[in-house]
Symmetry: C2
């Protein structure tokens, strides 16, 4: 089997998509926006704005917090990323362009997040929306539980 399609190949098409989106909005494709997009595409999992900022600083790609937040907004409008609501403290994001929709299984002890496919659930979600007269747009499924690791290493720290 040919294994030519790796993650790197994804970067060009998404850049083009974002660039086109920006153009339609009369916006510019700047160095900073390209750097942020690259950083995001390198992430396999859910990420936070803060995390992105730190990683980019570590990589000597100095981009301000403000620019990160502003770019995340544009990327959401371009349907390249989406918000994932894990907790009420801070927004989490996830790339959706070129990736399958996923649900998230969150360990209530360790905070570990595991993705799972939502094919069957998506169909149910669309059905439910339509039953209520809603035109379905998107959905989020988050399941909370105790991960195998946490079950093995009980903390016993319950007050």
């Amino acid at each position: 089997m040919k294994a030519l399609a790796n993650d790197k190949d994804m970067i060009l098409p998404v850049c083009a998509i974002f660039r086109r989106f920006l153009k339609t909005q009369g916006l510019k494709f700047t160095t900073e926006r390209a750097l942020i997009l690259d950083a995001i595409l390198a992430k396999e999992e859910v990420f936070e704005a803060d995390e992105l900022l730190n990683e980019m600083r570590a990589a000597e790609h100095r981009v301000s917090k403000a620019t990160i937040y502003r770019t995340l907004k544009h990327l959401m409008e371009a349907n390249i990323i989406t918000e994932v609501l894990i907790d009420s403290k801070q927004a989490h994001y996830r790339t959706i362009f070129g990736r399958e929709p996923k649900g998230h299984l969150v360990c209530v002890e360790t905070g570990k997040i595991v993705e799972f496919p939502v094919t069957e659930l998506s169909a149910v979600a669309d059905k439910i929306a339509k039953e209520h007269g809603f035109e379905p747009v998107s959905h989020r499924f988050v399941i909370y539980g105790v991960s195998p690791e946490a079950q093995k290493h009980p903390q016993a720290d319950r007050g």
Copy 2:
């Protein structure tokens, strides 16, 4: 059919549950906590801390912001309410004691929130958790879409 069981009947048992919970934790059942619990039980739908504060002030039940947040925490620990993640700006809560679990259908245009039963989805969620070795605890289903009202009255305000 006898229609004696209205929402008011729910208040006493929940108070008792909360009181008992507080006692087990060495905490006190104060006037403020009782007022907050009453205000919450009067709500049929999802609510926010801020909303609760305003409503209680309007009803001349002066309770501080701090006390509301502190009490919401206790009510969550007592499994009387739960957090519902609708957006990343602010926490939403919902009473779970004595009520069926629900999913939430959110209109992306108007913000309107409609609840729907999650019986079938809950079973799927538990199955998924177990498939990943997780002990299921809870789950949240949020579906975003365009409500019938918003479809009838298009805003046409897309940039």
